[in-house]
């Protein structure tokens, strides 16, 4: 087998993408925990840690650019590098959503939560599950699995509708709750967007495997 070195680089890149994915999983899970506990100190740490995710993205991007410039990848090698470039862009943005929830926790301040959080952690679990499955599908080159993950986004959308509907009702009933309810709607919206980015990742996996760009899921939000 020739080009062993090149293949080794690609494998390393794949590993780095999954590591970055785990960083994003940790960030979003921590941010929802911080929201549940209204832990502003942890929230500030999450905000600061986003820099690490951003740095990781630049790092992977630079390695991709180097490979393109020096190795002239073609066919599935080229598609993989392009897919990685897109995936890390999505992951970076997803990290921003975790950071965003951190900022919401800080803004929320010490006033108690409007209600105990049920559906928001559910959205987070669902979205994290989608992300993990997508990274797994990426490593296994499994276009069908990637396609299946897309349908899970509808469940996240449904939860978002439920959460925002409930919070709207609260605001209508009692205008005093408007600011706290708005914060929670923002948080839920961040999670909804987070899951949308997983569907982008899935599109890239399908492209990597099949060579065709397919828009698989048009989110309602």
């Amino acid at each position: 087998m020739v080009r062993e070195n090149f293949i080794k680089y690609i494998k390393e890149l794949e590993k780095e993408v999954t590591e970055m994915g785990e960083m994003v999983v940790a960030a979003i899970s921590r941010s929802v925990e911080a929201l549940k506990a209204l832990d502003a100190i942890e929230a500030k740490r999450i905000i600061a840690d986003d820099t690490l995710i951003n740095r990781r993205r630049w790092d992977i991007e630079e390695k991709c650019i180097n490979l393109i410039a020096t190795q002239q990848p073609v066919a599935s090698d080229l598609r993989e590098i392009l897919a990685i470039l897109c995936i890390v862009t999505d992951l970076e943005r997803m990290g921003d959503y975790a950071e965003g929830i951190g900022k919401i926790v800080v803004m929320h301040g010490s006033e108690p939560l409007l209600k105990p959080l049920v559906d928001i952690p559910r959205m987070a679990d669902k979205a994290v599950g989608m992300l993990r499955k997508s990274l797994d599908a990426f490593l296994r080159r499994d276009a069908q699995a990637a396609m299946a993950i897309n349908s899970e986004d509808d469940q996240v959308d449904l939860l978002y509708e439920q959460v925002s509907g409930e919070l709207l009702t609260c605001m209508i009933k009692n205008p005093q709750t408007i600011s706290r309810a708005t914060y929670l709607i923002w948080a839920a919206h961040n999670l909804e967007r987070f899951a949308d980015h997983v569907t982008n990742i899935c599109e890239r996996i399908i492209f990597l495997v099949t060579g065709t760009m397919t828009e698989v899921n048009v989110s309602r939000y």
Binding site: V2, R3, V74, A75, S76, L78
Partner: protein, 254 residues
């Protein structure tokens, strides 16, 4: 692929003695395009190219089966006029093979062989057009009596192309046309090919896959005498249909 092929081979087999060098090759090469044939050494790509103007006839103990159709005619028929075929299907080789003659005589030579001479002025006009076409007229117009071997390799290769063009072929075959040239000259020749394809059908055999990717509209991949895949270059280099092609172009063997 929907086009009327300029060259079409049907069930083409080619033997060097007992060795089957081309095996059931069926290819349709479109006109006014650049088609690259790639593949590892010994895969039959040069043999295929040389079938198109029957250069292989010059090699002893060879045998060909099948059909090669150009303009509705099977050029493998025994009564094919080879001189006129090779005039219509020109060839440019790996190393520039200019004659040890002046630049002018290099160009005039083919016209004389093919009895296309019609007075000095017309010859001069053909020489001018030929050199102009390959971008050499400006730099060589005052040096036409200079020996062609004194030119740089790139200029020599351009001159060889001009020598083919002057005979007004429809098809030009290139066998590794840039492998003796430096990278800058290579890119300049590639630019020339892009201009030429507006008028001619170009077929290039190349080891240089990046060149095939850069310059050609269609790419054929050959392996062990067979045409494994043929398609639009964009498709072949981003999403080839055959695993063998993928492994070759991505450098996993060959």
């Amino acid at each position: 692929m929907e086009f009327i092929p300029k060259i079409e081979t049907v069930g083409l087999n080619f033997y060097y003695g007992d060795f089957l060098a081309l095996q059931d090759v069926n290819i349709k090469i479109p006109g006014q395009n650049i088609t690259s044939i790639i593949g590892p050494s010994g895969c039959g790509k040069s043999t295929l190219l040389r079938c198109f103007n029957r250069m292989n006839d010059l090699i002893e103990h060879t045998r060909v089966e099948g059909k090669i159709v150009m303009n509705g005619r099977n050029i493998l028929e025994p009564d094919m006029d080879l001189i006129s075929l090779r005039k219509r299907v020109g060839m440019v080789f790996q190393r520039p093979n200019v004659f040890d003659l002046s630049i002018y005589n290099n160009l005039e030579f083919g016209l004389r062989i093919h009895r296309m001479l019609n007075g000095k002025e017309e010859v001069m006009e053909a020489v001018r057009q030929g050199l102009e076409h390959v971008g050499l007229w400006g730099e060589l117009k005052d040096k036409l009596r200079k020996n062609a071997r004194a030119l740089t390799l790139e200029q020599q290769q351009r001159l060889c192309i001009a020598r083919v063009l002057i005979l007004k072929p429809g098809i030009i075959l290139f066998d590794e046309p840039c492998s003796a040239l430096d990278p800058v000259s290579t890119l300049k020749i590639e630019d020339l090919l892009r201009v030429l394809k507006q008028e001619y059908t170009l077929v290039i055999v190349t080891h240089n896959m990046q060149q095939a990717a850069r310059v050609s509209d269609y790419t054929g991949f050959m392996y062990l005498g067979q045409l494994i895949e043929f398609g639009r270059t964009k498709q072949v280099f981003t999403n080839p249909g055959e695993k063998l092609t993928e492994n070759y172009i991505s450098g996993r063997f060959g």
